[in-house]
Symmetry: C2
Subunit: 98 residues, 2 copies
DNA sequence: ATCCAATATCGGAGTTTCCCGATATATAGA
DNA sequence: TCTATATATCGGGAAACTCCGATATTGGAT
């Protein structure tokens, strides 16, 4: 759990927004073809944030490197979901050290 | 309380370190000439982080713009201390939204 | 094999951040 | 007034970040 890397990952509002969207998938991604239990497809974020496909892919990659999300690759899709363990550990650490 | 601005301010380890140091002044700034209750002099950070005076001043300014610290100017000195209200509000917000 | 769809990666332009030394400002003291 | 100290601000170079379109890769379908 690299606190600095996580804080840098959170230093862009789009990435924070992605994490918040993933907290309530049924609310933000109700039109996804695949079941939400599998995670959220990369293209779903693209549709909602107005950024290009490559930019969205880079943001998701940043979140993954910080271990804030996990990826399940199924076929040609990448399903993203929050890594609640890292997020909780980070929040606990921040609360106690900051 | 601008969450994005705060997260950007926290996205540099030196600034996080400054905040953590200020949490325990008697531990980290025991050699300060002025009473610690007044806050921490800018030069105290300079001594401990190995960065130049202007760089330290800029980091402290970033923390202040994000309202994570407050400044008391007395004579030629600037005494910094944590703004616990903003910090607590930020942590609460982060815990509930992230 | 070929085509299409989803995602990742590359290359580059523009912006922001980070750091420094130099200079400005403001106060204190002789 | 002159000097020393503390901090802020300026200017610029280097590095990192952000974004895009183009291209590569991967897997599914025909």
């Amino acid at each position: 759990m690299d606190k600095t890397e996580i804080l840098k990952a959170l230093a862009h509002p789009v990435r924070v927004e992605f994490l918040e969207w993933m907290k309530e998938p049924e609310r933000h991604f109700c039109d996804q073809a695949h079941p939400l239990e599998m995670g959220i497809c990369a293209s779903q974020f693209e549709k909602r944030c107005g950024l290009s496909q490559s930019t969205v892919s880079a943001h998701l990659s940043t979140l993954e490197k910080a271990r804030l999300v996990k990826i399940d690759r199924v076929g040609q899709w990448a399903f993203y979901h929050r890594d609640e363990k890292t997020i909780a550990a980070f929040l606990d650490d921040l609360r106690s050290t900051l």
